[in-house]
Amino acid sequence: MTPQQKRAWYGLAIGIIWTLAMVALFVIKGATAFDEDTGMRFTAYAIFAAGILAYVAMLYITGWMMRREGVIMDERDRLILGKVPVYQMFAVLLTLAAWMIGLTEVYWDKGQIPIVFPNLMFYSAIIVNIVFASAGTLIAYWRAK
């Protein structure tokens, strides 16, 4: 396993915990509570910010450790990592397409959507983007084998 793959596993673990925390909040409190409960809104903002901070901290710490250990990132690694944005793009596009189709079908008659959904669309797009930075790395290395 290359250092980039190890880093991707750490990123994936953070992404999964982050997703579960966000899903748990909305399942426990209910999506409609977002409109009425200020505390829940700020909890969602806090979980979102904490996830990004944890991911950035992981990148910084692992990057520092890799530099300290003199880990090499060679041309094959760069070639493999160059494919990761493709996986990220497809994952984000699929997420947005799912939201678009789901919300259109559910709220077609009402002609408008609750304010919580633009927030959820934004959170999910960012989370999926970050999760697939890690998952895409693992897939790209797996396909290069």
Partner: protein, 74 residues
């Protein structure tokens, strides 16, 4: 020109050079051991720069390490 494959004699040359390990070769040329493994298994074709670095690590020409083989029927 049809499609072909780039074969190499890295494994043979490593053993001819005092049973050099994959890690030793990787350190000499500045790449990872995983890249040497992928090269030996024919799953990765190196850049021209890396090909020259590998051939110099063995003290031979690029053609002695890498061979272009045209696929039959292509």
């Amino acid at each position: 020109m049809g499609k072909g494959e780039v074969a190499n004699r890295i494994r043979r040359l490593r053993f001819d050079n005092g049973e050099m390990t994959q890690q030793d070769l990787a350190l000499k040329v500045g790449c990872t051991r995983q890249t040497i493994i992928a090269l030996e298994q024919g799953k990765y074709v190196p850049s021209v720069t890396l090909a020259f670095q590998i051939s110099r690590a063995f003290g031979v020409t690029v053609e002695e390490v890498f061979q272009y083989e045209e696929r039959p029927g292509s």
